[in-house]
Symmetry: C2
Subunit: 232 residues, 2 copies
Amino acid sequence: MSRLDRSLIAGLPVFEGLSADDLDRMLAAARSVRVAKEEAVFEQDAAAEAFFLLLDGRVRVVKTTPDGQQVIVRYIVPGELMGIAQALGRDTYPASAIAVVDCVVLAWPGRLWAEFAAAYPTFGTNTYKIVGTRLADVQTQVVEMATEQVEQRVAHALLRLARQSGRKTADGILIDFPISRQDIAEMTGTTLHTVSRLLTAWEEKGLVKSGRQQVSVVEPHRLLLLAEGRRD
Amino acid sequence: MSRLDRSLIAGLPVFEGLSADDLDRMLAAARSVRVAKEEAVFEQDAAAEAFFLLLDGRVRVVKTTPDGQQVIVRYIVPGELMGIAQALGRDTYPASAIAVVDCVVLAWPGRLWAEFAAAYPTFGTNTYKIVGTRLADVQTQVVEMATEQVEQRVAHALLRLARQSGRKTADGILIDFPISRQDIAEMTGTTLHTVSRLLTAWEEKGLVKSGRQQVSVVEPHRLLLLAEGRRD
DNA sequence: CGAGGAGTTGACGTTGGTCAATAAATGTGG
DNA sequence: CCACATTTATTGACCAACGTCAACTCCTCG
């Protein structure tokens, strides 16, 4: 196994404030893992034996109901932690994490969590800041689901994806990983049919461009108006 | 100001593992505050200057959208922390906390958070465990909103309230604080009309008993069947 | 080139929201 | 303590948003 270079993680928000030596020590305990497209990084309800950092690729975090319906909780982008059950006193993962494209992740044994948090307090604080952000995000999502119509929720979802994972192209902001109508439906609590109809309608109005497993936001500003419920 | 007695907080899950002296030291820094019914403990978007422990009463945590719609995020029962923005690196409260009945709370200055977490590590760990639980709860709520019909969501909400805040009576499990149809609607993302119709229908089937600002669950088991979507 | 996955689109029905009117319970001021 | 205002709840009529069902097309991969 090759030595992991500090530059892989230096500069990431989570590791802000750590010394070069600290980074090296943390990296020494990590192993780097490749995860093929559509494979799981970890599975819902499995024993939480490790926590992870996504180095490259995209991961979707999915909860499955007892009767098999799926809800996409969030997408993870490179540089983000995931599966940090230990930080929250859990011993199983609350959701599954699936590689959307081929990914590279760093994995640490879960029992190291407490050690790291004690040895590198800024790392602990930074992580809890992230947890705070995620809690806020999920609560916002609850509010959206409770108060908005499907059209607004889908518009908000696309804008979030574009912001988090968008790449500027000639056609506007391309969401730069494969995403199907079904995926968008599972993010917003609707059906692929409704998403398909919305995208078609928006394409006619010039707001988005979309194709097979791909969506670009052409006019973020007008889409935002829609998302906020002001008819245009 | 009278001295606060250790017995107020000893035995609460958050303070598990702390010595009597630790408790006394923490209490010495707290002030106890009475909050009248319908008054705010803290307000959404206000500077997070303190964190709180509910000693007595009931508090509802509410998010308000820009256009004035309200969503009830959760109810707080005695012994629970609230407004722990500091623990998550936030400097404003993400929601408002409103006393549902006359309440007594302990309040600590926010800047003490870091001190406490450092001085009493179990307190820190316990808190993050709670945060973990809340994150899981909110995520479950997202899944419910995305996959269940209104009838199931309302049934789930009532069962949660009964479990968290129920008192056994001749009529079944009484949710022991005033709660209106509108409140239940704001918990479940529906309208008071729909809640009213559901409660009437359930009352006819003998599942619940309800009146002005009051609901009892008579047959939790059958209500659970409904909540899980198995028609009966 | 064939099969399976992804997307589109029309027809239709249901859930649950909107609007409106009324009733019942509670609080308030004289 | 009563009259009146306010809040909470009920119920009916209506209808729109969106889910369901079904058929069909178009890619893409093997």
